[in-house]
Structure formats: structure tokens, C-alpha cells
């Protein structure tokens, strides 16, 4: 599996080269949000707004009113908890094209609870006009800014930084409100997002060997959530649906799937893998995914639960899984 570096940095520069109205705003986390090169390349379009997120968000609304396209860069957690009122009243209500590039989403930071955006999707899915994109690999990271630009309204992105795995073929760009089909099958519908897709892919490789037929979809667009691909996958799953997400199981991907199932009268079981109504703490991503039940083994257990049988899969089986190496684009 190829690991890409600084994908966001490259794509925001590319977007800015094509669109002179693109601006970047930072609240002193610029270099932690892959924006250092942008600030050097476009010093007149990079603004340090001070460690003052509330002002930054409303100010971005003012810039957007005048035709600029502000891309706010800070940690995901500071894009919603600290500034929810500003996000709603200065940006989302007037439906302005401000893009929140939220870094280190969920438990991808060792920074502890203050830095971990573990209920952001649940909170922000209730915000009208706002689109939500959750990045799962380098191909997502590469395409998400263009998707946000094209949406032409308020967008919240859970972006990944630094070393990001290339899980998806770069020649097949991520599309708005269109899940990526990673495997086809009829026993289980598995919906995954963010870093959990990589974990899920480790599990599905082993599960396939055990004869479990899984329709695995990677979901990048979490709002809107009315993708027919997802609906069809849920409909055909014989044993039920599993979701796995880098988020609490309340309000995120799992809840969105539950809504969809209920609204379409699909009477199947749903198992939601993710943080179980808890905050996390400061530690490595690998430790946290395991401790909070968001790793491949917990996903296997969820699927065993739906199937009603044990598959005798060990951690060693999962550790041996290798992915396709996509060449860099």
C-alpha cells in the first residue's frame, strides 16, 4: 500500500492556482494543517487570523459575501464545538461558500479529548445547507477540495494530513454523494468512512476468504445522505448492515444509515461500530482504535454477530493482509 504525503497541501495549491478567489484562513494551526507551502506560494491569499476561531468563521462569512472562497484551516474539533453558532449564523444560514478544512478528525490525534472531534458529524448533520465530507484515503484527500468548491455552499471536511494511505484508484476520482464500492456481496452491507475504511478493508479481505459475501462501501459524503448506491447495498444484504466510523455511534454514519433504513422500511439489523457514547483520551491512533472498539477485530465480531456464528479469525490473519499499490498520479 502506497503512503502519500502532503496531499492536501498539493491540492489546495492546485485549487488556488485555478481559482484566484480562493483564500486560506488559519487560526495558528496552519503548519499543522498542511498549509505552509500555500502560505509561501500565495502570501497575499493566506491570512493568519489569530488564535480566535469565532472571529475567523464570521469574518470568512464576510469574505464569502464578497465573492471570495475562504478555506478555513484548523483542527476539526475547533470547526464545530467552539464555533457552532458562528458556523450556523454567519455561514450556514446565509448558505455561503465557506469551506471548513477540519484536520485530525476523530481519534486521529493523540491530543486528547480537547483535540478529538468525536461527535462533529452528529452535531453538524443537523445544520441545514451544510455538506459534510469525510476523507478516507489519499484519493479522497485529493478530490475533496474540488468537490467542496463545486458544491458552492458551506462545506465541512474531515481532512487527513501527512502520511495518508492510497486505498483507492486515483484514476477514479471521489464523487459527490456517491459511495465507492470496494467489494460486492449479498450477506452483509458494510458502510465505512474515514480511517475506518482501511481497518474495514483488512477485515473484509479475511472475511472473503472465510466465504462471507460483503458489499463494502466507503462513504465520503455524509451529508446529504441519500445515495442510491448505499440504499441498494442495504436492501440486498441478507444478514444486515454494519457501519464503522471514526466517531461516536450517535449521529454519524451509523445513524444516517439507520435513518435511511427506517425511512425505506428496511427491517434489518444494524450494528454500529465506533465510539460507544464516550469521549476518548490522548494516545496513538492504533491504541485508541483498539481500546475503543473501532479496529478490524471488532468489525469482525460485529459481522459474526449478524451472521450468528464464529469465523475463527485471529489478529494474525488480519495483520497479514496486504493492499494494492496504486501508483502516484
Amino acid at each position: 500500500m502506497k503512503i502519500e504525503t502532503n496531499t492536501h497541501s498539493k491540492s489546495i495549491i492546485k485549487l488556488a492556482e485555478e481559482h484566484p478567489e480562493v483564500l486560506v484562513l488559519s487560526a495558528d494551526l496552519g503548519s499543522s494543517c498542511e498549509i505552509k507551502e500555500f502560505s509561501q506560494k500565495f502570501p497575499d491569499r493566506y491570512f493568519h487570523m489569530g488564535i480566535a476561531e469565532q472571529n475567523m468563521v464570521s469574518w470568512a462569512g464576510g469574505l464569502a459575501r464578497e465573492g471570495f472562497r475562504p478555506f478555513i484551516h484548523t483542527f476539526a474539533v475547533f470547526c464545530y464545538r467552539r464555533v457552532l453558532d458562528q458556523l450556523e449564523m454567519s455561514v450556514a444560514y446565509p448558505n455561503l461558500p465557506v469551506v471548513f478544512c477540519g484536520f485530525v478528525p476523530g481519534i486521529t490525534t493523540p491530543g486528547g479529548v480537547t483535540h478529538q472531534s468525536t461527535n462533529d458529524i452528529g452535531v453538524l448533520r443537523t445544520v441545514p445547507n451544510l455538506a459534510i465530507f469525510d476523507v478516507g484515503d489519499a484519493t479522497d484527500a485529493e478530490n475533496v477540495l474540488q468537490m467542496a468548491y463545486d458544491y458552492d455552499g458551506p462545506v465541512y471536511i474531515r481532512q487527513l494530513r501527512k502520511n495518508v494511505p492510497r486505498l483507492f484508484d486515483p484514476s477514479e476520482p471521489t464523487q459527490f454523494n456517491h459511495a465507492r464500492v470496494l467489494s460486492e456481496g449479498t450477506d452483509i452491507c458494510l458502510l465505512s468512512s474515514s480511517i475506518c475504511t482501511e481497518e474495514a478493508m483488512r477485515a473484509t479481505a479475511v472475511l472473503a476468504e472465510k466465504g462471507v459475501s460483503i458489499e463494502h462501501l466507503h462513504v465520503t459524503t455524509l451529508k446529504p445522505f441519500d445515495d442510491p448506491t448505499v440504499l441498494e447495498a442495504i436492501k440486498k444484504a441478507k444478514y444486515g448492515v454494519v457501519t464503522i466510523e471514526n466517531h461516536t455511534t450517535i449521529g454519524g454514519l451509523g445513524s444516517a444509515a439507520a435513518d435511511m433504513m427506517a425511512e425505506h422500511g428496511i427491517g434489518k439489523r444494524l450494528v454500529k461500530v465506533g465510539l460507544q457514547d464516550t469521549y476518548a483520551h490522548g494516545a496513538s491512533q492504533m491504541y485508541l482504535t483498539k481500546k475503543y472498539g473501532m479496529d478490524a477485530m471488532h468489525l469482525v465480531a460485529a459481522i459474526e454477530d449478524l451472521l450468528g456464528k464464529s469465523l475463527n479469525i485471529s489478529e494474525d490473519d488480519i495483520a497479514e493482509v496486504r493492499f494494492v499499490d496504486f501508483t502516484e498520479v
Binding site: Q54, V57, S58, W59, A60, G61, A64, E66, D85
Partner: protein
């Protein structure tokens, strides 16, 4: 300058009319934001009739049914700013942060000939755009300001955009002193001075009251002049009922600095019967005083 700048006497007459109209609202509709009309009538009348450069209104002269909230399918709804005219680069922009002053703004639009008087019949009437607290679609409003602290930042963002684009228009944000307890205001003031936004002016109606009482008895925020100076702003402090002083202040150059005009005002100005009722955020005329207020109204 407005289309034709009005004399001090004409502006004073408009201010008196605003108070009179809003006293009528208070009498007829079981209350209104009357003290804010009393404190700000000269400020708003001076801005509308003399100090700010607006274009001929492109807004409807009559009240309109609520046009729906902004959304992907509804971005072409009539905007509140239409009443200040086409957005030419040289026209001034006015952001009203103290949006519970909506009645004052609507009345000022009538005084300025930008709306017909019958529009006021729809003030705070269900289903119409003349809401008690203004939003994007309400006549005279650029944005949805009800959550205090955000509008200064939005206006500063617009001022920043004007700087980047070299537009000569000036950006004004009107607010009231109680709002200055919000942290976001000071985040904004800090950055606006750092960025030297000398096209940005805050006009503060210092009526010394907030919802729970006199500002000095809640959380005193004085000395505001020294606080703003410490934040790098050009500061003017004037009598907010002195029309010529308001206009002179607005036209004061402030190169390389944003400017604040601290307008000291009286929330009972022009209606002495309010003197023993203030501080009062929302005035309901007591039953035992109704006759006195009616008699006062009749001679206004």
C-alpha cells in the same frame, strides 16, 4: 452623501418621527424596543439622510411575504440590502449588529423615502419580512445579526474584501454597548486594527443599558474609549443626539486605523415619560400610564 443630504432640522424631524412611530407600535402592540429608538433615532437618521453614501433603493416599497430561508434552491430572494441600492464599489455598506433595532431601521427607511409608510403595518406580523429582529431578508439588513458578536466580524470580513479589491466604499457596523461584553467583538477589533482596515467604522449606541439593567451595574465595560485605543483604533466619543457631531464623526479620516464612534445616548431621549422606566430593554406601556403616553403621543 445620500441622494440629497438633508438639513439638521429635517434630520431632527425624521428622528422625532421615528420615536413617534415606535411609540405607536409600543402602544398598539403590547410593547416594542422603544428605548433603543429613543437612543438611536438621531444616529440612524443622520446615517440614512446625510452621512452614508447609498444608491437609490432597489427594494420593494411595500412589505413582502417572508421569502423563505436561504438555501441552494433559494438564493435569489429579495435581500435586505436592496434598500441601500445597487452594490456599486463606491457605495457605503451598513451592517446592523443591534438587530433588535429593526423597527428603527424600518422607520428610517420610510423617513428616507426608501419604503412606503404602509410597510410598517406589517411590522412584526406573522408571515412578513418586517420581523421584530431583522435577518438577511428584512429591509435594511445585510445579515442575520441576532446572535451578538458576529456582525462586526462579518462586516470586517467585507471591509477586508473591499481592501483586497481596491473598492472605495466604506463599511459601517452599528452596535449597542451591551454587545461589547461579547469576546468575539474584541477578537474582531484586534484583527481589524492589525490589518489596518481604515475603511471600517463601528458606530456604537452607548445607551448605557442592557437587558438586566444599566450596563455599569451588570458588567461595566467602561472606559470604552481607552479600551478601543488600546486595541489600536481611532476613537471618537460624541453626544449621540447631536446630528452635526454624528456627521462630522462619520466623515473623520482615520488612515491606517479602523474607527469607532462612541455615541453617548439617553434611552429616554425625546420621551420624558420613559425617564423613570429606564433601563428597559423592551418597553411595555403600563396600563396606568397608557393615558399619559397617549397624550404625549398626540402632541409629538
Amino acid at each position: 452623501m445620500a441622494e440629497e443630504a438633508k438639513s439638521t432640522e429635517e434630520i431632527q424631524a425624521a428622528a422625532n418621527d421615528i420615536r413617534k412611530r415606535i411609540l405607536r407600535f409600543a402602544l398598539d402592540r403590547n410593547g416594542c424596543y422603544l428605548t433603543q429608538a429613543c437612543s438611536s433615532a438621531e444616529i440612524v437618521s443622520t446615517l440614512f439622510l446625510r452621512s452614508l453614501k447609498f444608491n437609490p433603493s432597489i427594494g420593494d416599497r411595500h412589505a413582502q411575504p417572508f421569502p423563505g430561508v436561504p438555501s441552494r434552491d433559494n438564493m435569489d430572494y429579495p435581500k435586505g440590502w436592496y434598500y441601500y441600492g445597487e452594490l456599486t464599489p463606491d457605495r457605503d455598506r451598513l451592517f446592523v449588529s443591534c438587530c433588535h433595532y429593526a423597527a428603527v431601521i424600518y422607520c428610517a427607511l420610510v423617513e428616507a423615502g426608501r419604503m412606503d409608510e404602509d410597510a410598517l403595518d406589517k411590522f412584526n406580523v406573522d408571515g412578513w419580512n418586517m420581523e421584530m429582529i431583522g435577518a438577511e431578508h428584512s429591509p435594511g439588513f445585510e445579515n442575520t445579526a441576532g446572535s451578538l458578536g458576529q456582525t462586526v466580524s462579518i462586516a470586517a470580513g467585507v471591509a477586508h474584501a473591499y481592501k483586497m479589491e481596491g473598492k472605495p466604499g466604506r463599511i459601517f457596523c452599528m452596535l449597542s454597548d451591551g454587545e461589547l461584553q461579547e469576546g468575539q467583538d474584541w477578537e474582531c477589533f484586534d484583527l481589524a486594527s492589525y490589518l489596518k482596515l481604515d475603511n471600517f467604522t463601528v458606530i456604537a449606541d452607548i445607551n448605557h443599558q442592557q437587558l438586566e439593567g444599566w450596563t455599569k451595574d451588570c458588567v461595566d465595560i467602561e472606559p470604552l474609549d481607552k479600551r478601543f485605543e488600546a486595541f489600536g483604533w481611532k476613537v471618537l466619543r460624541i453626544n449621540g443626539h447631536d446630528i452635526d457631531a454624528i456627521d462630522r464623526a462619520v466623515q473623520t479620516p482615520h488612515p491606517m486605523q479602523p474607527m469607532v464612534i462612541l455615541c453617548d445616548t439617553n434611552p429616554a431621549q425625546g420621551i420624558p415619560l420613559l425617564e423613570d422606566m429606564v433601563p428597559k430593554h423592551f418597553v411595555r406601556i403600563p396600563a396606568d400610564k397608557k393615558d399619559a403616553f397617549e397624550a404625549f403621543y398626540a402632541q409629538m
